[in-house]
Symmetry: C2
Subunit: 375 residues, 2 copies
């Protein structure tokens, strides 16, 4: 079989581990493996490479940030459309038997559209989607590769940040902006820092729950001691307006640009000293501190995508299921790609702190331990 | 001997490793060791603790962020001043024989003032200063503990950031703001990322060298391929004005800066797509990715401060000297505290890229290696 694999959307710390899984399993099964550069955008321009990787290169790949094959933010239009003629011209010209796409919501939608269109054209192409997103917002999977590593990095640096900021006798309120336009999984995961730093309170503001300036001030005022406020970039107020679109002024009365996190920091400054950090792109590229569970699962979804092709599966999505039992373990499940793309799994309203921590803890793995003064 | 130790100024990832060195050596030599909480500010309020730490706690301490004893930003006034009466009241009441202060420029000035004042009062107190600053701007030492770890964190995340940002077919210019009010050592150190990421060009803007908007645009325009622009928070234009639009004062009356990086990003946006990150406090607290050389040396300066006291030294500073030879090694040198405080070691104008990289490389140690596509 000749398999074409490509990567799409924002990179994660482990998107290349999934690529490594695909290449490794394809090599084992003696399939030919072709890389599409810059996702579907590059494939449409016939930018294909032969992926003859050596073992050392594949080992490095598992901890390499970015997208090894290059990525794109390209949404396939609704078929019928002549774009599909171009796409299948490349597929046919290169005698591709199967297409695997590693990506998020939009990419899974592309996989579904390609499957549908191949069927309509009576072409034998098999297609499958491999999940990837730090946002953790793909439906029908326990979680998404990329999320555990981003959550690990953020919990570790959040812990370091609050300990650093509270070195002085006067308490500082720490505010951190976290990625996540439509879902608050990553922001919510910062709650776990309470288990790393003794006496820390974490307040999280997520897109799923509208919040007002008054509510923020009330909630922050009630907390004593060390406080970290984690703010999703996509939070809205009760009028449905993004916090990032609210205009704020700096100390000189000049309008100050900034995202949701800076807006919340500005609000809290009315009642206390605030320290603000926006880890931005660092949170999705931190391959130096990946979660080992995440790397393992990212490789696993890649390998099992090839296994599914081997069984003749088509129009599939590699989902992750958490096994029962006290010790964390997981397995993949090959499900239909239908109903995956363009859906968003949000944090349920009844998902409380205990449930959240139990969900995130095993994905992150071993957390740092610090010396702490008793008084 | 009864030794009082305290920490001052902004924490680093290894300021607690120096504390561990002090405690460890004092224990070995059967000295009593007292911690002063929140630096001189807390000592003036008699906030002292007995540091009876177990080995496990001391091991953790070496990789604990923040300041274990608490810190302050407090500058002792010029003597004579009644503040010194209060200070020596605490010293005498607690029968303290020696005082060690772990800190930066301002703290070394405090050590010098305390020594001078003890001498004037004919009190037998010994005093010594232990270097600490990510800014690397203390004079008469090869480098300062804290700098190597901050430089390591920044080079690693800068590499991850540029690889992540260049996943797309369209090139992004990456801009990063780096701490350093008066000296550009940390910003300059980012040059080393060129050795981690193949084909990367790093441009650095440091406080030592004024720069105009036109110069920035000209320099950025000439670079091809992957580009990272590292900007010190304290850069100025040729009129001597800070790039940052926000100018507020910190506790010492120094201008407190923010926004220089954003300003440069804004300028560069005129000629290309820009991605911006400000790691802010994360760069000084990243104990999860300390440089092993840094931890070792931070412990060493702490231990050798106690060794100096043991020899009856007074009014001293523990400086680090780089040994000759191809393999990096270093030793401490006990020098006079006179002329250390409030001086700033800047990056010399003739310190070129090769010299800079040779200076920083061994301090950081092993750097990550990534898989990279050939085409």
């Amino acid at each position: 079989m000749k398999i074409l694999v490509a990567q799409s959307g924002g990179p994660t710390a482990v998107i290349n581990a999934s690529l490594s899984g695909v290449v490794k399993r394809a090599k084992m099964l003696k399939h030919e493996i072709i890389g599409g550069l810059y996702g579907i955008e590059g494939i449409l321009e016939s930018r294909l490479v032969n992926l003859k990787m050596q073992n050392e290169e594949m080992r490095l790949l598992e901890k390499t940030p970015g997208s090894y094959l290059g990525s794109c933010r390209y949404n396939l239009p609704e078929p019928p459309n002549q774009i599909y003629d171009s796409f299948f011209d490349v597929i046919n010209a290169n005698k591709i038997d199967a297409f695997l796409y590693i990506g998020g919501n939009d990419s899974m939608d592309s996989v579904a559209k390609i499957s549908m269109e191949a069927k309509r054209r009576k072409l034998p192409l098999l297609a499958g989607g491999i999940p990837k997103t730090i946002d953790n917002d793909l439906v029908k999977t326990d979680h998404c590769p990329g999320f555990p590593s981003a959550a690990k990095f953020l919990n570790v640096v959040a812990s370091e940040f609050v300990i650093d900021s509270n070195a002085y006798s006067k308490v500082s309120i720490c505010v951190m902006e976290i990625m996540g336009r439509d879902s608050g999984w990553l922001t919510a995961s910062i709650k776990l820092s309470e288990e790393i730093v003794n006496g820390l309170n974490v307040i999280t503001y997520i897109p799923e729950k509208a919040v007002t300036e008054t509510q923020i001030l009330d909630e922050v005022s009630t907390k004593k001691g060390m406080l970290l406020v984690a703010v999703s970039e996509g939070i809205k107020n009760t009028d449905g307006k993004y916090f990032s679109s609210i205009e704020i002024k700096d100390a000189f009365g000049h309008p100050k640009l900034g995202g949701a996190g800076e807006k919340v920091a500005n609000i809290i400054e009315k009642i206390g000293k605030v320290k603000f950090v926006n880890p931005s792109f660092l949170q999705r590229s931190a391959s130096h501190i990946v979660s080992e569970v995440d790397v393992k699962e990212a490789v696993m979804v890649g390998m099992d995508a090839v296994n599914a092709l081997e069984k003749g599966k088509n129009a599939f999505f590699v989902s992750i299921e958490r096994n029962d039992g006290n010790v964390y373990s997981s397995k993949t499940k090959i499900i239909s790609i239908e109903g995956i793309g363009n859906k968003i799994k949000t944090v349920p309203a009844d998902f409380d702190d205990l449930m959240l921590k139990a969900y995130v803890r095993p994905l992150i793995g071993k957390m740092p331990k610090y010396a702490r003064r008793k008084i």
